[in-house]
Symmetry: C2
Subunit: 185 residues, 2 copies
């Protein structure tokens, strides 16, 4: 396969994943592969070449979203200000969760999301821990918390602040409460 | 009905509700009425007299748990120290949620929990708001938040801090982060 062909295949794969996420979030698991192919601008055969079964497609979506979160965490981990980077990562993750849940909840009925996530969770956890430790070392985050506290706070915030009756202003102030609480006393 | 008979009936009703909650949390909706009657120490006829259907029993459980939360909120609202009362209410509610969820999640499959809750939610919300405003007036809680922020923070914490992999120490520190964040900057 030449470089160009390989790049084409990768682009197609990404387009299919994006189209599938949009359609699943909007219409649920009953979306036909034809519609996904159409929105992605590829033939149905191309979809099946990349994802032989719907389960394979779902698993790839879960992995892609987790990989994206790892990327975001790594970008923040390379940020100049350790404390601001950590806080911005927390904020971004919570904001992103609403979008994630729409897809994940539907996919969760079809594949074992936890099993798929497990393969990348170690990498994500290590990156979040590095972000946290750097911010603590810089003196901007209380030192009595570790990864388990951060994950519990994050998962709670992702649920509590993304409930249907919570508007953007409430969410922003709620996140602010949470992030203030992470500062040293 | 004499006073004594009425008191007996009330006691029986409470015993049935308690037994039902314990058994439902442990064994799910398939628990037979016989077992509930046995644990409550009453006859099956008594259970049916108080709760003609399983749905009536489930709804009574949801209401009883909400009423208990309202009672707790009212007790704290009458507490001497406005700020400590508010913070203690938050802590108690989060601690209580683990127990609640075991029952509520199961009952949620059988009756519309939200509909049952709606009838008492106004009273609960008013009590929480009174607790919050009193604490804000006393200068111990940031003034830019209202009931929606408190409810979003509470519901998130109830989920995030009561996940199966969160131990007591992590939960305690997580709650501490949250409550510190509620203090004025």
């Amino acid at each position: 396969m030449t470089e160009t062909l390989r790049a084409d295949a990768r682009r197609n794969r990404e387009r299919i994943l994006e189209a599938a996420q949009d359609l699943l979030a909007a219409r649920g698991l009953s979306v036909p592969i034809d519609d996904i192919a159409h929105l992605a601008g590829v033939g149905v055969g191309t979809v099946y070449r990349h994802f032989p079964t719907k389960e394979a497609l779902y698993e790839a979506i879960v992995l892609a979203r987790m990989e994206h979160l790892v990327e975001i965490a790594k970008e923040f981990a390379a940020g100049a200000d350790p404390v601001e980077s950590f806080l911005a990562f927390m904020r971004t993750t919570i904001d992103r969760a609403a979008e994630d849940r729409a897809v994940m909840e539907r996919i969760g009925d079809a594949v074992d999301v936890h099993e798929v996530k497990a393969s990348i969770k170690v990498e994500l956890d290590e990156t979040i821990l590095a972000l946290l430790r750097r911010a603590q070392k810089a003196g901007g985050i209380r030192r009595d918390i570790g990864l388990p506290e951060v994950l519990a706070l994050l998962s709670g915030a992702c649920v509590g602040f993304n409930a249907p009756n919570v508007d953007a202003a409430v969410r922003a102030r709620g996140i602010d409460v949470l992030l203030s609480g992470l500062r040293p006393a």
